[in-house]
């Protein structure tokens, strides 16, 4: 791995989320500066900011793309208690020449009385549906019945989770054997005993979402949750960011035919559990084929996890900041191709030389000895600095205070 490019995002405050579109040719960033920016990858491989606009009147927590079948559509959610849907319209020709695009607000979803903490589109086979969750513990599912008219969204379902919600994830499986399913995570730290991950399943008969499962073993605040692509399997895989990274396997149990109207019951198994972040884990995410899981935690690292063919999980990569100030950040949207070779940036000296263990030959010549090979992996020690900066109980981002909105930054 190496840093191929660094892009000055030019947000005036913290970036909270970056989201690639389905094909990886566009990305959206959102920030505490209340704006969203859209970046397009040019034919030259460089990223250009093609739109930047104020989206909310509070920090924008998350931004997400709809499937391109529905056009160029974004959804954002914010501390200002709303979620919004944005659509790109084909602009005037002089806009195109300037490399700018127009995004217009199609709707504002104002049902939440507290900060909207997550927003996700449902899998495309369900149609154009948007889900939000909020600090007041409600998951809302909206639908745009007419995909050509994104200004009409109807609130289809309201699921009361009883706990302040921090994150949601749809089960991506499009198999007929699997009814629509959504997992909700809670970062409620007031209630310490209950399970913080709930799974809701759509019931065809009642046309409602009903709770299918609560992961009782997860009692610490959950900050992120994500289903893995199904890969045609009968069971589901769910990754959770809590005080550690956990991967669960949910195996649907065989229904008794008499009782077929009730929600599916699951056998829940822990596939893996990693506590190497030392403390809170904030984000988890799968790659396209779910061969890799990435997680970000209080140790300031992004860690990559991989299962081998024996289903043994291990950490295969660590990314961390070098702690240096950025230089020359004043240039607006300046793109600097850094291209720093990996070997030049190793943290723990020779031990972390990674896969680059072959020396480069001064005069490459067949038959020369390939020296300086790395010691075997067992010798590589992972070095962690003990992170003492986090106090045991810190005030959570989303306070369950519905009338007076707390300030965003303490």
């Amino acid at each position: 791995m190496f840093v191929a490019k660094s892009i000055a995002a030019d947000h005036k405050d913290l970036i909270h989320d970056v989201s690639y579109d389905f094909h990886g040719r566009r990305m959206a960033t959102c920030s505490s500066d209340q704006s969203v920016k859209v970046w397009d990858k040019g034919d030259d491989g460089e990223w250009h900011c093609t739109a930047s606009w104020k989206t909310h009147s509070g920090s924008v927590w998350r931004v997400t793309w709809a499937h391109p079948e529905f056009g160029q559509v974004l959804a954002s959610c914010s501390f200002d208690r709303t979620a919004a849907v944005w659509e790109e319209i084909v602009g005037e020709s002089n806009d195109k020449q300037r490399g700018q695009s127009h995004w217009i607000k199609r709707t504002t979803l104002v049902d939440s009385r507290t900060s909207v903490t997550d927003v996700k589109f449902a899998p495309k086979h369900m149609g154009l549906m948007l889900t939000t969750c909020s600090a007041d513990g409600v998951v809302r599912i909206y639908e745009a019945p007419d995909v050509m008219n994104l200004s009409q969204w109807s609130l289809q379902h309201e699921i009361s989770c009883k706990l302040s919600c921090s994150c949601i994830s749809w089960n991506p499986s499009s198999s007929r054997a699997h009814p629509p399913m959504i997992a909700v995570g809670s970062d409620d730290s007031n209630i310490t005993y209950s399970g913080k991950v709930q799974i809701y399943e759509y019931n065809e008969n009642t046309r409602k979402y009903a709770k299918a499962e609560t992961l009782m073993t997860v009692t610490d605040p959950v900050h992120d949750i994500t289903f893995a692509p199904n890969l045609g399997r009968s069971f589901h895989v769910l990754a959770i960011a809590t005080k550690d990274v956990r991967i669960f396997k949910l195996i649907p149990m065989r229904r008794e035919s008499a009782n077929s109207s009730g929600p599916t019951k699951f056998e829940v198994q822990v596939m893996a559990q990693f506590d190497s972040h030392n403390s809170q884990v904030w984000r988890v995410s799968w790659n396209i084929t779910s061969t890799l899981l990435a997680s970000s935690g209080d140790d300031g690292c992004v860690r990559l996890w991989k299962a081998n063919y024996m289903d043994n999980w291990k950490c295969t990569g660590i990314l961390r900041g070098d702690g240096s100030p950025v230089n020359g950040s004043g240039h607006a949207a300046a793109l600097s191709a850094v291209g720093v070779p990996v070997a030049a940036q190793m943290v723990v000296g020779a031990a972390s030389a990674g896969r680059y263990f072959f020396p480069h030959l001064d005069s490459p010549r067949a038959g020369s000895r390939l020296a300086h090979l790395l010691p075997p992996p067992s010798l590589i020690e992972q070095i962690y600095e003990p992170d003492l900066s986090h106090a045991p109980q810190i005030r959570q981002r989303h306070t369950a205070n519905s009338t007076n909105q707390p300030t965003e930054h303490d």
């Binding site: 209080d298 063919y309 990314l319 067949a366 090979l373 075997p376 590589i380």
Partner: protein
């Protein structure tokens, strides 16, 4: 399977303590953030960093390696199961050689580039790649000898000798240098060359070089002649000949004793170099170890040692000599490096360990995926039947192919790899291929064809839908319609058909006539599309002056309720010129039907939101139509009542 690697993100971690991330195709985006929001507001402008996972994929030279090995891979998959395994072995060996020659070609090109490039960093990057490829080829070659060819005693050593010679070819360069010098015998590397040749068992060449010295020193010519004799008579096993292994062993022992006798007799005491050579010939380990510089590696030492002590080594005994040779050569304190351990595992015939260590040590999946696939075809892998990747082979091939998918054009090669992964290949392909950016229509069609060939109907539908949606956004109605038809999306077809009609009522003419005229059965996708197709057909018939056919079609559009009610007035207005023709086109019955359509339309809901002016126009139209219909009816009655004579 991969090695743990740590990477630093420049400029992150200074203002904020957390790193946010997002997966992309082939890369990972990271950015500085704070999930707790109790720190200071962000100072300075935050950056977004794009971290690539595999840069080899982008190398234009390695690209050749990928594309050429793809052909070999596909060829290998086609080898039929029913061919008897005896015949297959030679096929597998030649496939293995093909793979290696691709590596070699790639290495040569990299080397040339490393030499010719002006940029130092590029040269060192090429150099890195060359050393990796060298190691890969070395390991592959050994695996070929030990596992794929599975040479028996006798041939085994000959093949190992070839292996060492191939990977220690600097001897030839040095020999050439010495022989081309003014006085080879005086050259400082002269004896190094002779001994190197002997160490590699190249006795004929060694004799040739030795002869240069012998001719100079007349006084010691007998000693040189003796050495020449020993080298000449050294028995070499001939696997294709009639000689049995036992016969060879007897002959070899005989020769060995003769060498030993020369040593006992102090035959070569006068020349320390010849003495050394003789000691090598009897396989004296201390003497061999003194040649460390010339041997340069423990595995060269191993092969030389076997050549002069156990030329008929059997495969199962190899590991013992390998381990001891490594220990002797590296010394007690040196710790073996990954390459040493990989080679040692190979000598121990521990295939699984070889593959495991290679996946850890190497920076791409190319090698392990292809080697494991070949070994699997040779039926050399025990199956590891686990649900996460049906077996080791599939696991590795999937990893490699997924890597290819991150490249803007190499992904096409990956399709064939996925096709040959029975367990998860299809699901992986489905997940990966729908993410291929559909930059152009051509590319979309390419992706589409791959999906269609594999009956991936959901992906086909999705790609067409995306393209249709994009075309519609850009107001390219024709393109949008044809993609919609491919997507078989009825609702969207209706929508686009309505856009076409709207366009028609605005402009008075149709666009994309080619498409509309050739809809064929596709027009049945939605009622609106059927109407659009039929309505356009009416216009065509009218244009071709096939009036009665046009009239029949127009009428049927209304009577069969294909035309939406909102368009009936337009259709009736279209009938006006037909009614006004001199010739009678609408028959009596047809005219009645037209009339009932008109009355049905007028008896329906009145548009309350019409302006007075609009209402005037509507009623005038109705009046005009009524008049025309009545006149046509008279003509038709007259015509139909007249008996032609």
């Amino acid at each position: 399977m991969e090695e743990l690697q740590q990477n630093l993100i420049p400029g992150a971690g200074f203002y904020q303590k957390h790193l946010g991330f997002e997966w992309g195709p082939g890369d990972l985006i990271v950015y500085e953030t704070n999930y707790k929001l109790q720190g200071p507001r962000s100072a300075g402008s935050p950056s977004v960093h794009i971290v690539r996972r595999d840069e080899d994929i982008c190398s234009p030279i390695l690209r050749k390696l990928f594309s050429e090995s793809h052909l070999i891979f596909v060829g290998l998959q086609k080898i039929k199961e029913d061919v008897p395994s005896k015949n297959k072995k030679s096929q597998f060996v030649s496939i293995s050689k093909n793979y290696r020659s691709v590596i070699r070609a790639c290495m040569e090109e990299l080397q040339q580039n490393a030499v010719s490039t002006q940029s130092g960093s590029l040269a060192s990057q090429y150099g890195d790649q060359v050393s990796i490829l060298l190691a890969i080829e070395l390991i592959w070659n050994l695996c070929e000898v030990l596992f794929i060819d599975a040479a028996p005693a006798g041939s085994l050593l000959l093949q190992l000798l070839d292996w060492v010679r191939l990977h220690k070819s600097d001897v030839d360069a040095k020999a050439r240098e010495v022989l081309q010098s003014d006085s080879p015998a005086q050259h400082q590397s002269y004896w190094d060359v002779v001994i190197s040749l002997v160490l590699q068992g190249r006795t004929d060449e060694a004799r040739q070089v030795l002869s240069k010295q012998a001719s100079l020193r007349a006084e010691s010519s007998s000693v040189f002649k003796r050495m020449d004799g020993l080298l000449q008579t050294m028995p070499i096993f001939n696997p294709t000949g009639t000689q049995t292994l036992t016969e060879f062993e007897v002959k070899w022992r005989h020769w060995h004793e003769e060498c030993d006798r020369c040593l006992q007799d102090n035959t070569f005491a006068s020349n320390r170099h010849l003495e050394t050579i003789c000691k090598i010939l009897v396989g004296d380990e201390d003497t061999l170890l003194e040649q460390k510089e010339l041997l340069s590696t423990w595995y060269h030492f191993l092969v030389t040692r076997l050549l002069f002590t156990h030329p008929t080594i059997k495969p199962p005994d190899l590991h013992y000599y390998a381990q001891s040779s490594m220990n002797m050569f590296l010394g007690p304190r040196a710790s073996p490096e990954p390459l040493d351990i990989i080679l040692l595992s190979a000598f121990e015939f521990d295939l699984h360990q070889v593959i495991k260590d290679c996946s850890i040590a190497l920076n791409n999946w190319w090698f392990v995926a292809h080697l494991t696939d070949l070994l699997d075809h040779c039926k050399l892998l025990q199956s590891h039947n686990l649900h996460f990747g049906s077996n080791l082979r599939e696991f590795l091939v999937l990893e490699y192919a997924s890597g290819l998918f991150t490249h803007h054009s190499l992904w096409q090669l990956a399709v064939d790899y996925f096709d040959h992964c029975p367990e998860f290949g299809r699901v992986y392909l489905e997940l990966q291929i729908e993410r291929v950016p559909l930059d152009t229509e051509r590319k979309a069609i390419k992706v589409l064809r791959i999906c269609e060939d594999r009956q991936m109907s959901e992906q086909v539908r999705s790609i067409c839908k995306i393209m249709a949606k994009r075309a519609l956004r850009n107001n390219r109605l024709g393109s949008a319609l044809s993609w919609t038809i491919r997507a078989k999306d009825a609702a969207f077809a209706t929508l686009i058909s309505e856009r076409f009609l709207q366009d028609y009522s605005n402009k008075g003419s149709f666009t994309d006539l080619d498409l509309l005229d050739n809809l064929g059965p596709a027009m049945l996708l939605s009622d609106s599309l059927t109407f659009l197709g039929k309505y356009r057909e009416f216009h065509r018939l009218y244009g071709e002056k096939r009036f009665s056919e046009a009239a029949r079609l127009l009428l049927s559009l209304m009577t069969a309720k294909i035309a939406p009610r909102s368009l009936w007035m337009t259709l009736l207005t279209d009938a006006l010129p037909l009614l006004e023709q001199k010739e009678v086109i609408f028959s009596v019955d047809q005219t009645y039907e037209l009339m009932s359509c008109l009355e049905e339309l007028n008896s329906g809901t009145k548009h309350s939101n019409l302006t007075d002016q609009d209402e005037d126009i509507e009623s005038t139209k109705t009046e005009l139509l009524r008049l025309a219909l009545a006149r046509n009816l008279t003509m038709a009655i007259v015509k139909e009542g007249t008996i032609e004579t």
